[in-house]
């Protein structure tokens, strides 16, 4: 609704489910302020966010449980504002002020 407080950051909410929260100090919900643009001046997309989370929010050293080959590892679903990120352009989706981005690890128990 309102413009972001500072033009150079955007405020979003990142959430983790299905066990991924254990990689992020058991936080299921993370309010975040991230740069609005990356180093090249391009607008921040989900690929940037994933890398940002890995470097700034993830406490667990086992990065490969979240990122593999430069992208979110297989078995993790990314949901942007309650929809499969495939519907939004996957990694290239440009993050908007107020977005909710949920990372869900697929479960296998039964």
């Amino acid at each position: 609704m309102a413009a972001s407080k500072e033009d150079d950051t955007i405020s979003i909410t990142v959430e983790f489910s299905g066990g991924l929260e254990m990689l992020f100090s058991n936080e299921r919900k993370l309010p975040l302020s991230i740069p609005a643009k990356d180093d090249t001046g391009a607008r921040t997309n989900v690929a940037y966010l994933v890398n940002y989370l890995c470097e700034n929010a993830m406490k667990d050293p086992k990065k490969e449980l979240f990122v593999l080959d430069g992208t979110v590892r297989p078995g993790i679903l990314v949901l942007i504002n309650d929809a499969d990120w495939e519907l939004e352009g996957e990694e290239k989706y440009e993050v908007q002020e107020g977005d909710n981005i949920l990372f869900v690890s697929t479960l296998h128990g039964g």
Binding site: G18, G75, L77, A83, V104, G109, G110
Partner: protein, 301 residues
């Protein structure tokens, strides 16, 4: 069948009366349930409550697949089994309980785990499948089989305090038809690295968490099987768009519904370019355990 003034037996009107008068079911829905067959793969924490409510509802034929025997550690959540049946196969134990709940339902035992060799012949004669299993390998196998045979699939899973539920391959149109519902491979094209599944291995499970997901599987199955009745006039169509229900027992809200993608244009199973074929599957050339890495079932919970 010729029209019949009393298409159900007298005792069926009595037994299912409270469900018959629900507008989305009605007599037509009850007849659809009676004529339907459902295969439940896995008679554990999900399969027990799912089977109880499907058998209670009067689904005509229910098949049960499991290779395990009942252990004491199952009983906190696998409510069809009992202390005196520890050591019995889960399929036999469940049949005892289900038969005593509703003797009108035909129960078909399938002992042993589903494998690429047995999947096609086991699933073939059923109308709908419930995935109540506990490993990545079985989830890919069941989904592939359902795509190849054109069966809708209600897939759920649970761990610790979390649960997930999807209705896949719904509608169950042939591979290549983009109007069909997405399959498990559309949502998860690649299996998780075995290491990442390992973290779940020691996770444990809270009984009512997996219980809720199992009951919801029974509900989704009933919705799919009766969808040609009043249901469709009641806003039900909208709930047919593919979605993932995420449950987290200690979050607020506990339930969240997420919109899922349509079929993936290059899906290995359900697209026009599918490499998963009936021949490949039944010849054993698809090695699901290899594909998913070597996590032993017990480690993956």
């Amino acid at each position: 069948p010729p029209p019949n003034r009393w298409p159900l037996e007298k005792n069926e009107y009595r037994r299912y009366g409270r469900q018959l008068i629900v507008p989305v079911i009605g007599l037509q829905g009850q007849l659809l349930l009676k004529g339907a067959s459902v295969l439940i793969v896995g008679v554990g924490g999900l399969g027990c409550p799912a089977a109880a409510y499907l058998v209670g509802a009067g689904v005509g034929t229910v098949g049960l697949v499991d290779g395990d025997t009942v252990e004491e550690s199952n009983l906190h959540r696998q409510i069809l089994h009992s202390t005196s049946r520890v050591g019995m196969t889960k399929v036999e134990s469940a049949m005892v309980a289900l038969h005593s709940l509703n003797p009108n339902v035909k129960l078909i035992p399938h002992h042993g785990r589903l494998s690429p060799e047995t999947a096609i012949s086991t699933v073939q004669s059923y109308d709908l499948v419930l995935d109540c299993t506990d490993t990545p390998a079985s989830r890919y196998l069941i989904s592939d089989t359902c795509v190849l045979l054109g069966k809708p699939l209600v897939s759920s899973s649970a761990l610790r305090i979390d649960g997930q539920l999807m209705v896949l391959n719904n509608p169950p149109l042939p591979p290549g038809n983009t109007a069909g519902g997405p399959c498990y491979r559309c949502v998860f094209p690649k299996p998780p690295p075995p290491d990442s599944v390992l973290t779940c291995g020691d996770g444990g499970i809270l009984g009512p968490v997996v219980g809720v997901m199992g009951v919801l599987q029974a509900l989704e199955a009933i919705k799919v099987l009766t969808r040609f009745t009043g249901a469709s006039t009641n806003g039900a169509a909208s709930s047919d768009s593919p979605s993932l229900l995420i449950f987290s027992a200690y979050s607020n809200p506990m339930f969240r519904a997420m919109r899922l993608r349509a079929r993936k244009p290059k899906c290995a199973a359900c697209s026009a370019q599918a490499t998963v074929t009936l021949e490949a599957l039944s010849s054993g050339s698809l090695d699901y355990v290899q594909f998913c890495g070597t996590v032993a079932p017990v480690d993956a919970l």
